[in-house]
Symmetry: C2
DNA sequence: CCGAAATTCAAACGGTCGTTTGAAGCGAAA
DNA sequence: TTTCGCTTCAAACGACCGTTTGAATTTCGG
C-alpha cells in the first residue's frame, strides 16, 4: 500500500461505536427532543462510555448534527417520495400520496418515523443546531408540500398565499404523527392500525381537496 | 366580628405574591413550556424569593396547576368565544369566527395568547399536571372545533370521522400561533400584522371550506 | 514483539434544576 | 410592648446535565 492510501484508516471499532451512538441518539432525540434527550441515556442505549460522544462527535450538538445529516439523506432518497413521482400523478393523487407518505409513521416505527418525530420536535422549539442546519435548505417536507399545493393554486396566487397553503398542508400530517401517543389515549382513543391510517388519509384528502362543505 | 368570620384572613401581601407568581409563571411557561421554564426565572420575574413557590403552591407543579385553572377560567368566559354565538352564525361564519378567534394571538400579546401558547406546548409533550388536569374535561378548543365541524358533516358521519375533522380544524390555528416566531424568520419571513391576519383567516377559511380544488 | 497512536473508561468538574432548611422580618392581637 | 403566627429570605442540598481529565486498554504498523 502506498502512503496515500492509508491517510486515515478508520478502525472497525470506531465505525461501530459511531453508528451505535447515532442510532441511539436518533431514538432518544425522537423521543425527548434535543434539549430533553441526555447524553447519558444515549450512551447507555448505545452501550458506550459517556465520553465517547465528545470523543467522536465533539459534543452533544455534533452528534445531533450527524443525526440530522442522516435524516436529510434519508428524505432525499428517492425511495421515500420522489418529486418526479409527485409530478407524474394527478394533483389529487399527488396530494393523497403526500399525505399517505407523511402519515406512515403512525403505523410504522421505522427510521423515517423517528426522523419525522425529530422534525416535529424542532417545529416547536428549534435548537440552534437545527436552525443552522436548515438555514440554507428548507426541510424537504415543506418543499414537497409546496410542490403539491402549487398544482392546485392559480398561477397568479401571491407568494404569501402559496406559503399559507403550503404550511397548512405540511402541518396536517405532522400533527397526527407528533401527537399520536396522546391521541391514542382518552378522550380521543384513536388506535392507528393500517385500516385507520387509510381512513385518516381519506378524510384528510377529502377535507384538503373539497373542504368541510364538500364532505 | 364572630370567630367564624375570621377563620382565615389572607393578608394583602399573600395575595400580591401569589398573583405575581401566577402572572410570571404564565409568561414563562408560555415561553418555554412547563419542563423548560425554571422556578428561578419565574420568581425572578415576580420579584419573589425562590422558596415562595413551594410555600404558596407546594411546588412547581402546584403553581402550574394554578396557571391552568386560570387559563381554563379565561376560556370559559363568554367574552372569548361563546358556543351560543357560534350556533347563531351560519356554518361558514362560525368557521371564520373560530379561526379568527384562535389566530388572534398572532397580533395580540395578551393573556389569552399566553394561554394558547401553553396549550401549544402541551400538545407536544404533555406534562403530567396537564394530563391529569384535562383527563375529564377536554380542552375547550377541541369542544368548539367539534361544534363547528358538526355543522358541516352529515348526521351519519362516524365518530372517528368527526374526531379526525375536529382535530384537523383545531390544529390549524394552533400551528400558526405556536410557530409564529419561527415563521417570522427566513425562509418564510411572515410578518403578522392585522392585515396579514385577515388574509390568513381568509386563506384558511377558504381552504377549510372548499379545499385546495376550490381556491 | 514492540511502541506509538487510537480508543475506552471511571471519575470528577462546574453548572442548573426543584426543593428544603432554619433564621429573620413582619403585622396584628393580647 | 410583648408575643405569636404568617411570610420572606439567603443558603444549602441532592439530583441531573454536558463536558473534561488522565490513566488504562486496545489496535496495528514496523
Amino acid at each position: 500500500m502506498s502512503n496515500l492510501d492509508q491517510t486515515r484508516v478508520a478502525s472497525r471499532s470506531t465505525e461501530t461505536t459511531r453508528a451505535a451512538l447515532i442510532k441511539a441518539a436518533t431514538s432518544v432525540f425522537a423521543e425527548y427532543g434535543y434539549g430533553g434527550g441526555s447524553v447519558r441515556l444515549i450512551t447507555q442505549r448505545a452501550m458506550a462510555n459517556q465520553a465517547a460522544v465528545n470523543y467522536h462527535f465533539g459534543g452533544k450538538d455534533g452528534l445531533y448534527r450527524e443525526v440530522l445529516i442522516e435524516a436529510t439523506r434519508a428524505f432525499e432518497e428517492n425511495a421515500f417520495l420522489d418529486t418526479e413521482e409527485l409530478d407524474s400523478l394527478s394533483p389529487e393523487d399527488a396530494l393523497r400520496r403526500y399525505l399517505h407518505q407523511f402519515l406512515l409513521p403512525l403505523v410504522k416505527r421505522d427510521r423515517v418515523s423517528r426522523y419525522l418525530h425529530i422534525f416535529a420536535w424542532e417545529s416547536v422549539r428549534p435548537s440552534e443546531v437545527f436552525s443552522a442546519f436548515v438555514a440554507h435548505s428548507p426541510p424537504r417536507i415543506f418543499l414537497l408540500a409546496e410542490r403539491v399545493v402549487r398544482r392546485f393554486l392559480p398561477r397568479d396566487a401571491s407568494a404569501e398565499t402559496v406559503t399559507f397553503a403550503m404550511l397548512w398542508l405540511a402541518q396536517q400530517p405532522m400533527f397526527f404523527v407528533r401527537d399520536a401517543e396522546r391521541l391514542a389515549q382518552p378522550p380521543f382513543s384513536l388506535k392507528f392500525d393500517e385500516d385507520a391510517l387509510e381512513r385518516l388519509v381519506d378524510t384528510l384528502a377529502t377535507l384538503s381537496l373539497r373542504g368541510l362543505a364538500g364532505v
